[in-house]
Structures are given as C-alpha cells and as structure tokens.
C-alpha cells in the first residue's frame, strides 16, 4: 500500500501513558473534573491553533476502584465522561491519553498534549512512560505483504 491514510486525512496524533499517585487520595468527583479540564485544555489549544477542532481527544483511567473515560469531539458539546469509579476517592492508577487531530502534525499534537498535562500535575504525581521516538522507522518487521 503506497498511500498513507494519515497523510491523506492530513492528521497528526500522539498518545501517552502514565502511572499516577495522589497524596492525599483525590475525591472521585475532583478527579473527574480534573480529567475534563485536561481534555478541554487540549481542545481549547487546538481550536486556538487551527480555528476548529476536527478529530478526537480521549483519556481512559484505570484504577483498582474502577475506570473513568473522557472524550472530546466537539467544543460545543464539551467533554463527555463515563464515570465507573466505585469509590469516593482514588489514590493511584494508570492514565492513557491520546488525540488524533486533522490539520496538525504529530509534533504539534505532542506539544499541545505535553503542555496540557500540566493541568494534572498540580494534583497528581505522574510517572510518564516515555515512548521511544523513531519517526523514520519503517516497520520492516511488518513487511509481509
């Protein structure tokens, strides 16, 4: 396949994963608000930069007390949250956070998201799993067709 659909769609993406700890434990309601603020912050920055938001910004949190999912597609609708946290407070867990956006390249998306993640760092200790950057990598191990 010579065609790259990501280029065709003129889209960029970035994703990151982090373990988090909260000292003291963060009330679930506050955690929801914090995640929504994170996602909204990305949406606002994208809109400022591109004049529109076309794509998907999403985060998923896994904790021993359940999960929390926040998605943003449209600034008028705002973040949409599915809260399946079963306890009143959370002290640790894992966050997966990604975005794919039209009109931005991978680097732009990464910059925006890394900037926005500071929203969380005021309340959570984050241990971000850095992904190896090797953008020119050819996926030669996938070359079976």
């Amino acid at each position: 396949m010579n065609e790259d659909s990501k280029e065709l769609a003129d889209a960029g993406s970035f994703g990151l994963k982090a373990d988090f700890h909260a000292h003291p434990a963060i009330p679930s309601k506050e955690l929801v608000a914090l995640m929504e603020a994170l996602i909204r912050d990305v949406g606002t920055k994208v809109t400022e930069q591109r004049g529109m938001l076309l794509g998907h910004i999403k985060a998923f949190l896994t904790t021993e007390q359940g999960t929390l999912k926040v998605n943003l597609i449209d600034m008028d609708i705002g973040p949409e949250t599915v809260d399946r946290l079963a306890s009143a407070a959370v002290d640790k867990g894992e966050i997966k956070f990604m975005a794919a956006l039209v009109g931005l390249d991978d680097h732009d998306v990464e910059e925006i998201m890394e900037d926005s993640i500071q929203v969380l760092e005021e309340r959570l200790d984050l241990d971000i799993e850095e992904h190896e950057h090797d953008h020119d990598h050819d996926h030669d191990h996938e070359d079976h067709n």
Binding site: M1, D4, K6, A9, G15, D74, F97, A100, E142, N145
Partner: protein, 197 residues
C-alpha cells in the same frame, strides 16, 4: 466465522458500537474476538473494550490499512487459529480507508463465511465533516455494505434527511441505517445480522 469491520471517521462512535455489539453477541452465546487499531503510540480503545469484559487485541503505532497491513493479516490468522471465534470485529483507526482494510481481510485467507463493512458517520458533525474533510470522508463511506448514521439522539429529522441524502450520493449502493450507539436505538438489526451471518 463472520468478520465485521466497524469503520468511520475519528470519534464517530466505533468503539461505543463495538462494545454494544460485542456484549450483545457474547450474551447470545457467540464467541467474539476484537481487533482494534489506534494510530497513536499509545492507544485508549483496547483498555476501554477490555474493561467491558470483551476480548481484544490492540494494534498501535500505525494504521492497519497502510504501514501495519501485515500486522493485521497476521493477527487475523493467529486469532482464527488459536481462538476460533464465531465473529471477529475489527475497529480500524478513524483515519483508515475501510475499502483497503476489507481487501486485506479477504486476502488474508482466514476462511470467513461473510465479511461486512459498517461505516459510521456522526450525524451531529456530518455536515461539518462533509465540508471540512469531504474527499476523505466520502472515500471512507464509499463501498461500505452498511452506512450507519450514528448519534441520532443528538439531531432532528431535518439533519437526518440531509445527511442521508449526501450519503446516498457518495455511496448509492450502501444500505443506510440510523442508530444511536449510545442509547442502543436502531442497533438490534445489526446484532441480528451478525448473529445470523
């Protein structure tokens, strides 16, 4: 074995529909396997799907319709051989071309009895999408067996009609259905289709 691709632009509701269909089909006693692809280095959807007790394999860091086409075919073969599912559902990224994914499924020779491509379109954003990314979105829709106009809980009949008309022009041979993956409205016929093959 049935293979069903749930395609559609970024955020159109693929994972939401997939979780709903997967849960219904599992309840009906079907063995369901899921392949989900995310463009980013780190994906979110695999974890979301797993949290609903479904079985998924997540392919990340590229697109299964281009750079990771070999990975898709190998994963299909491995799942078929080791898990022997009744149904395999594939969620490509929101920026994949479904027609290429179908071709890759067919040439991977896993012996499926039937393959369906369902392409979702977000009714709430459709008119904006047709304006801002017309060429790409029309290529995604073209040739789908079923185009599912999703999120109908967010729009009125007027918008539904306009969207239907535009899709009719882009892919006249596709069957058109109106659904809400969120509320479950209109989803039962899709469950039935996959249940019966």
């Amino acid at each position: 074995m049935i293979i069903c691709q749930l395609a559609g632009f970024l955020g159109s509701g693929k994972t939401t529909l997939l979780v709903r269909l997967g849960s219904e089909l599992s309840k009906a006693g079907k063995k369901v396997a899921i392949i989900v692809n995310e463009v980013g280095e780190i994906g979110v959807d695999g974890a979301v799907i797993d949290s609903y007790g479904l079985k998924s394999v997540e392919i990340t860091e590229g697109c299964i319709c281009c750079s990771l086409s070999g990975s898709l075919q190998n994963t299909l073969r491995a799942i078929t051989r080791e898990y022997k599912p009744d149904i395999i559902m594939i969620e490509p990224t929101g920026i994949a071309l479904p027609s290429i994914v179908s071709k890759l499924v067919r040439t991977s020779m896993v012996g499926e009895e039937r393959m369906y491509t369902i392409c979702l379109i977000d009714a709430f954003r459709a008119l904006k999408l047709f304006k801002e990314a017309n060429l790409f979105v029309s290529r995604q829709i073209a040739g789908a067996d079923i185009v599912a106009v999703n999120k109908i809980d967010l729009v009125d009949d007027d918008v539904k009609e306009k969207v239907a008309q535009m899709i009719g022009e882009m892919s006249p041979q596709s069957k058109l259905v109106f659904i809400s993956a969120k509320t479950g409205d209109g989803v039962a016929p899709l469950v039935k289709l996959l249940e019966e093959g």
